[in-house]
């Protein structure tokens, strides 16, 4: 038991030491992350609790995760026109870099995950764009808008507020797509589920064509392709999957 506790403490200590301060980039307007393998966890901070730092864990074929002390060996930091680009090195063989970022919530965020890993983003208020190949995308407390493209993995996006004129586009190939919106959100919907789909909706959907398996959790054999409106319509909410269900939920206030 003591041994386990000591291991946890040492790991936590190592992770703590590997954290790199990014406050020198406080004047930037957006962060653009490009990695190959590994999870990306971004947490937006604001007010008195605003922090700006990064830590990372490296894993190779030995499958022994190691906190990275010298981040510049694995990640390149570059500022161009008030944009901070964080780019992972090209892997030689298998290696993954799990990245954890605490950043000001007012920044724009773009993530490109070229090979695989899960993406978690919490409390980013100025828009987010994600392109991911393999892995799920989970967004919570997102503001303004989101454009997400994933190949294999579900997308779950919960919005705290949405800019009324900005589109939201959540597209995956394999996996369900869920958008959770403030209850007064007015949108034009484009719903595409090519197979094994159904549509769950907390909102009343105005449509001139019947939606197959609406609020019936049975996987449809045929494609579900509809346009609809919620709360009278507005900017676009595009939800698309080749394989899986769609859900439009209301934020619980």
């Amino acid at each position: 038991m003591k041994c386990i506790l000591l291991t946890i403490l040492l790991t936590a200590n190592a992770i703590g030491f590997s954290q790199q301060e990014l406050s020198e980039y406080k004047d930037i307007e957006g962060i653009y992350i490009t990695t190959h393998w590994g999870d990306i966890d971004v947490n937006g901070t604001d007010g008195q609790e605003e922090v700006f730092n990064i830590s990372a864990i490296f894993t190779d074929t030995s499958k022994q995760p190691k906190p990275i002390d010298n981040l510049s060996k694995y990640l390149k930091f570059e500022v161009l026109k008030k944009k901070l680009f964080i780019t992972a090195r090209t892997p030689k063989g298998f290696e993954s870099i799990d990245i954890k970022l605490n950043i000001p919530s007012h920044l724009f965020l773009e993530i490109e995950l070229l090979k695989g890993g899960n993406i978690y983003v919490n409390n980013m208020q100025h828009g987010i764009e994600i392109n991911s190949l393999n892995g799920s995308v989970k967004l919570d407390q997102i503001g303004k808008y989101a454009l997400v493209n994933a190949a294999n993995g579900e997308i779950n996006a919960r919005f705290s507020h949405i800019h009324k004129d900005y589109p939201i586009s959540l597209v995956t190939m394999n996996g369900g797509v869920t958008a959770t919106l403030p209850k007064d959100t007015a949108r034009d919907l484009r719903l595409i589920s090519r197979k094994n789909g159904y549509v769950e909706s907390d909102f009343s959907l105005e449509t001139d064509k019947k939606i197959i398996n609406l609020n019936i959790k049975v996987y449809a054999k045929q494609p579900i392709i509809n346009t609809a409106r919620i709360n009278g319509g507005g900017a676009l909410l595009f939800l698309s999957t080749e394989n899986g269900p769609l859900a439009i939920k209301k934020t619980k206030s």
């Binding site: 764009e129 294999n152 586009s169 597209v171 190939m173 676009l236 698309s240």
Partner: protein, 219 residues
């Protein structure tokens, strides 16, 4: 002559040159003069009606402002006319411009997606369709591409070989899949050869390859 002497006596008296008047007439005249001065002093000062006063100042202010605006107008009139001319020229030159030009002027990905989606409610010419097909090659954002492909599903009969060629160069699996969905229902273009080449690419996602093979087997 006598009157002249009397007047001189009176003036000398008033000016302080002499301290006495030499005739009864002069003394009489002086008395009338003194009374006149006394009466003048007793007349109250005439005060101006305050409303008239205000109107006067208002008039002065307006005059002053009007004069300024004239100068202001003179200074900005040429610039205003120039700006109006430019706006007019832009309007004239843009009036016949295509959706493509308007799209090119957009700076952000959300704006582009919104623009493409809104084309769903408009009549598209073959030129517009050609542009949208080529945009699939030019644009790099996957969500924009998927929105374009979704728009083009409503214009399948107008799609030409260039659209189908996009599949060979596309590397994003979700866009490949969206393109294949159009391939699946297209009957006016021979696509088997293109599909066969595509399905043999080494780096294809398993789901995409499966879909391509499925379409090929049902041709």
């Amino acid at each position: 002559m006598k009157n002249d002497n009397t007047d001189k006596d009176i003036m000398d008296y008033i000016d302080g040159i002499s301290d006495q008047l030499n005739s009864d007439r002069a003394r009489g005249e002086a008395k009338v003069l003194k009374q006149l001065v006394s009466d003048l002093k007793e007349i109250p000062l005439e005060t101006i009606n305050p409303q008239a006063d205000n109107r006067f100042y208002q008039f002065i202010n307006e005059k002053s402002t009007n004069q300024k605006s004239v100068i202001y107008l003179k200074r900005w009139l040429p610039l205003g006319l120039a700006a109006a001319s430019i706006i007019l020229l832009l309007f004239v030159f843009n009036y016949n411009n295509s959706y493509e030009d308007a799209y090119r002027a957009l700076n952000s990905n959300p704006d582009r997606i919104r623009y493409i989606y809104n084309l769903n409610g408009t009549e598209l010419t073959s030129t517009d369709i050609d542009w949208l097909q080529s945009e699939l090659k030019n644009d790099v954002h996957p969500n924009i591409k998927v929105t374009i492909v979704d728009l083009l599903t409503h214009h399948k009969s107008k799609l030409n070989q260039e659209f189908y060629d996009n599949l060979q160069n596309e590397s994003i699996p979700s866009v490949q899949m969206a393109l294949l969905d159009i391939f699946e229902s297209s009957t006016h273009v021979a696509i088997s050869d293109a599909l066969l080449i595509f399905s043999q690419k080494e780096d294809l996602d398993a789901s995409v390859r499966q879909k391509a093979n499925y379409i090929l087997s049902n041709q």
